[in-house]
């Protein structure tokens, strides 16, 4: 018997109707009579399921429909078509039991009151979510411990740094022990150390509580560290759903050869290197990096070793963020926007 998924999307679709108006008085007057609108398809029939306890990376360039999808799953947006179920509920009905089972963390939003210590806001969340007091104390102390908040929660929130505040925000979002976490850019604007801390925390939390996590991030390090599985959407449509390693295999068309020369080779100018592959190093130190087509990698490596005095050579997969960049650079399909006149 297969495990019942926690999140199910079936052909989920969201179309925004936005007014179109050219500049100028004449256009303004015309729009009084016949308002012209345009339909923007933000999410175009996306389907996937997420099993309990999974941490899934949800990727896509800006405007791909990630946040719109998360907002539909958290219950903030009504879809235009299709269906979705989270924890057995239709999210946009915003059943109170559903809301007590999820959380949506957005890197750019504050729910903590500015003028009072985070601890007071935590207590307010306890009352909002009706968490029994003993359970609240336990969860709160655990979160304070896991996120290292003990010195921060007693200060007014306005005195905290961005990273400290974000950690408190995350704790506040989890006091009701939700089993589904929607994390939208949780590490946005944080320094590397803080990013790493939050990453480690998300992993530990998911393990400890068996929580399901759907995570978007612009930092591929977040995704690499946390997500075995990734879902890529682009122009509102599902582009890829599978293992992170499979994504690299499928979309990466090149490998990188790094080499060092044992002695100077004057005749190797830019044009001469181009015969082997594309130079992607900055040319400042002795390390030379070449991007070569995956299929010809072995042959080119052979030629390099045969013709040049090479002291060191390594072949690497293309870094994940570069792969993602290539994926995102794919052209827009023609179905993504449709114009309509109403």
């Amino acid at each position: 018997m297969s495990i019942e998924p926690v999140i199910t999307l079936n052909n989920l679709r969201k179309v925004y109707t936005v007014p179109v108006r050219e500049g100028g008085l004449r256009a303004a007057a015309r729009s009084l009579i016949a308002r012209e609108t345009r339909d923007i398809v933000a999410v175009n029939g996306v389907s996937f399921t997420v099993a309990p306890g999974e941490i899934v990376g949800f990727l896509g360039p800006n405007g791909a429909g990630k946040t719109t999808t998360l907002k539909m799953l958290a219950g903030l947006l009504h879809p235009s078509d299709g269906s979705a179920r989270v924890l057995g509920y239709e999210p946009w009905q915003r059943n109170h039991d559903f809301l007590r089972g999820i959380t949506l963390v957005m890197g750019n939003r504050n729910q903590l009151a500015w003028d009072i210590p985070a601890l007071d806001s935590f207590d307010l969340n306890r009352a909002v979510y009706r968490v029994p007091r003993a359970q609240y104390m336990r969860t709160r102390d655990e979160l304070i411990e896991m996120l290292d908040l003990s010195t921060l929660v007693n200060q007014p929130v306005r005195n905290l740094s961005l990273g400290e505040r974000m950690k408190c925000e995350i704790a506040a979002s989890l006091l009701h022990s939700p089993s589904v976490l929607f994390l939208d850019e949780p590490t946005l604007g944080l320094d590397v150390t803080m990013q790493r801390r939050i990453r480690a925390f998300v992993r530990a939390y998911s393990q400890q509580y068996g929580a399901t996590v759907l995570l978007t991030s612009h930092y591929m390090a977040d995704v690499e560290a946390l997500c075995k599985r990734v879902i890529v959407i682009h122009h509102g449509a599902l582009l890829f759903d599978g293992d992170l390693t499979a994504l690299v295999d499928r979309f990466s068309s090149s490998k990188t050869i790094s080499l060092q020369l044992g002695e100077a080779v004057p005749h190797m100018d830019q044009a001469a290197w181009a015969a082997f592959g594309e130079r992607i190093d900055d040319g400042e130190d002795s390390l030379i990096r070449l991007r070569v087509p995956k299929a010809q990698c072995a042959a080119i490596t052979g030629r390099l070793l045969a013709t040049l005095p090479i002291s060191d050579l390594t072949v690497e997969e293309t870094p994940i963020d570069q792969v993602i960049e290539e994926v995102f650079a794919q052209p827009q399909t023609d179905i993504a926007t449709q114009e309509a006149r109403t």
Binding site: G75, L76, L77, H78, R109, D115, D120, L124, A127, R130
Partner: protein, 273 residues
């Protein structure tokens, strides 16, 4: 049983939220003081004008002496302070800045937090309003004619007046879902209120047609009714009738609010949060 537990949880929320809001309010003592000066000054101006007018007419207008006016506007100061709200001025910001979206994700209706914020502000401002009332009473020597029963009846009437006015303002605030120009709608409502609630002058001084209209509109029941009650101008029957009308209005506006809220949220979640 579940309903009782639910009520208990809501009570717990109100307790914690009030405590939190009081703590926040205390951080803004300066702003509160400025706000309060305005709240005291407005009825003071009306009082000065009407007292002067009464003096010019030989001591009384329609039988109301300057001491009666003093009682009226001091009572008006207290009742207005306890029943006013500001939600309709903040709602637009509340929707556009994404705070509403955050609140929609919480398993509690957002009106509860507005009520708590309102009460926290009032609890705190009372510490200044009460001394102000005492001071004004010493200066203007108001003439009070209330009896024990009307003082007692004043409390539920005041509570109903608050509920009615708050629900009215909250429903009015929902206009912000449809237009970004809520200020003009608020201004209009404010002006009608000023006139028909008895804030500007005792309604008994108005021409009969306007008095009749004031009985039909909800505004009298938000302010003038509790004032008249504490001034001892009403009979027990009138007091009971008044409270029944208040409750009728509360029920009607509550229904309207729930309907408009549902439509507004559907619209909000269609166009994006």
């Amino acid at each position: 049983m579940t309903a009782l537990r639910s009520l208990g949880s809501l009570g717990d929320y109100y307790r914690v939220k009030l405590k939190t809001d009081l703590a926040i309010e205390m951080q803004y003592r300066g702003a509160m003081l400025i706000w309060l000066i305005g709240a005291v000054l407005e009825p003071l101006v009306f009082l000065a004008v009407w007292s002067a007018a009464a003096a010019a007419q030989g001591g009384a207008i329609d039988g109301l002496t300057s001491h009666d006016f003093a009682a009226y506007f001091i009572a008006s100061l207290v009742v207005n302070q306890l029943t006013f709200s500001w939600v309709m001025w903040e709602f637009e910001h509340y929707i556009r800045e994404g705070e509403l979206a955050a609140d929609l994700l919480r398993p509690i209706h957002p009106i509860h937090q507005d009520i708590c914020e309102n009460w926290a502000h009032k609890l705190l401002t009372m510490t200044v309003v009460i001394p102000a009332v005492i001071l004004l009473s010493l200066v203007f020597e108001p003439a009070w004619h209330f009896e024990a029963w009307s003082l007692l009846a004043f409390l539920p009437a005041l509570l109903f007046a608050f509920a009615l006015r708050f629900l009215f303002d909250w429903t009015l605030a929902l206009i912000a879902f449809w237009t970004t120009r809520t200020a003009s709608a608020n201004q209009l409502a404010q002006t009608v209120f000023l006139f028909f609630s008895g804030r500007l002058a005792p309604l008994s001084l108005f021409p009969p047609v306007l008095v009749t209209i004031s009985f039909i509109l909800p505004f009298r029941w938000m302010l003038a009714f509790p004032i008249e009650l504490i001034l001892g101008q009403l009979t027990p029957a009138q007091a009971l009738w008044g409270m029944a009308i208040q409750l009728g209005w509360i029920a009607a506006i509550l229904l309207l609010m729930r309907f408009v809220w549902r439509v507004a949220i559907r619209r909000f979640s269609a166009v994006g949060g």
